[in-house]
Amino acid sequence: MILAISVVIAVVFASGAFLVLQRDLLRVVVGIVLISNSAILFIIAAGLSRGSAPIYPIDEGAVSDPLVQAMALTALVIGSSVAALLLAVVYRLYVSHGSIDIEEIFRMEMREAEELESMNKTELDPEEEEVADERKLEKEEPR
């Protein structure tokens, strides 16, 4: 039983870790969900004991540990709500960028930043051009 459950936890965690390393953001979210579920399995495994249900009046003999179930439930609630939050963030990124590929989103932002910079340059007055040149020199220097 111990071997079986540890293999299950290992497989779930490894699949999650693999998905988190993907570029597709949806896969990253699924990966996080899998990883958090592997931790929940681990919690259950930490208190895996044979016994009757701990409902009053308690029968004679061993009672199984109820605390891990409570912890697992709490962790499940937290995990699912955080997954919902992550999905909302992914949707927000999709709306603004039209893509859920992290590399593409990053490239798009770099392009936007460059465009913004070139726009700022053209907006300068001719009088200030001298200043801009000086500034350019200043910027290059500390590097």
Binding site: S36, S38, A39, F42, A46, V89, V131
Partner: protein
Amino acid sequence: MTTLVILPAGIAWLLAAVIAPLDGRRPLWGWLAATGLGASLLAVVLLLVRVLREGPVEVVAGGWPEGVGITLRADVLGASFAAVSLAVVLVAFVHEVLLGVRSRTFPALVLFLAAGLSGLFLTGDIFNFYVFFEISMTASYILTGYREENSQVRAAFIFAVVNLVGSVMFLSGIAGLYHLTGSLDMEVVAGRIGQVELSSIIPIATVIFVAFSLKIGLFPFHFWLPAVYVGSHAPVAAILSGAVANIGSYGLLRFGADVLPDALSFGAPVVLVLGVVSIVYGAMQAVSRHDTSEVMAYSTIGQVGYILVALAVGGPVGYAAAVVYSIVNSLNKALVFLAAQLRGPLAGAAFAVGAFSIAGVPPAVGFVGKIALFKTSIEAGGLLETTALVVLIFAGSALSFVYAFQVYQRAFLAREYRNNKRPSPRATRVLAISLAAFVLAVGLWPEPLLVLGTESAALLLEGLR
């Protein structure tokens, strides 16, 4: 009197629930939230004074017998961290209200964050710690994307994913501790863990160490930190580095020094090396960067290294230095992040105080932190170790002096700044200057801060005996 333990989280929590459906952009709700944060902070300060006089206060939630219910426990260590974190959150929040809140949910989120923070610093139960920790982290994920600029939303995603992996590791660590000791109460776990073989504690301690190192951005786990800080909104950055990062240093102190002291002394060389690498790496990177928030992000990585070095040396002097330095660091970071964006008379002065403090120049409070670190390195033992550490801390401070003033020059003396004549609202400048005055005042009268440090160290070492 025991209600004081529940009040800090309780006030913030209730008020957050009330304000959540209201329109947080209206100043009325903003000020209501600020009042609530102030009340929480007041409760924590009262609690801190009481804890200093009479020792830890304990409450078992829900009226359960001790050992069954969840224990809320306030001691010097937790209460001092709660006080400084809530103070930073309050100042950053008031700053944002003065500038004008742009999102309906901002006040409620900050209140939830404050509730989570004060809850996790004032609990004596490991799993309860995790729950509060998740509450504050979830609020901070959303806060990272607060202004909804595209890069901020991307940063929020990265921040959330990386820190969720950290949370999951911490959760596994909790499960391991529960399996070994059969309890979730920190005191009971600390008492029983001594009978467990070290070889079974080490993996759990490693997992917990990695989880908290991810939170504070220690060297090999720092990769997410610059992406989150660069381009983040100033009050949010102040909250992240001044309050949320405290979770990591508190967690390392609580779980390392208090709950798992054997594992910490076994792993001390590793912690020391990571701390040293972090100091050097953070300072070098910070010197080579341009953008203010990027420099400060790398500076955070470096400053964390000092806390780790103090933690690794340990003993009464080392733990005291770790506590003092964590408090000093969150004050510095809050001041620097808030003042860097301000324009107008005296904004530069407030920033300069923060920069002086980071570099450890008297009379700013950073000096007190650096002195504590020098004492720690003298405690470290052998002549070689001591010299190496003293040289390292000195070099780190010199580098921080360089980057702090590079940032000062670029932010306040460059031509762009002088051309930009539009000053920030007077109230925000007054706030930043009062924070700077506070940093100077604590530097001039450091006894209360040092008492917090030594008392916390004594508390942490009590478990060892």
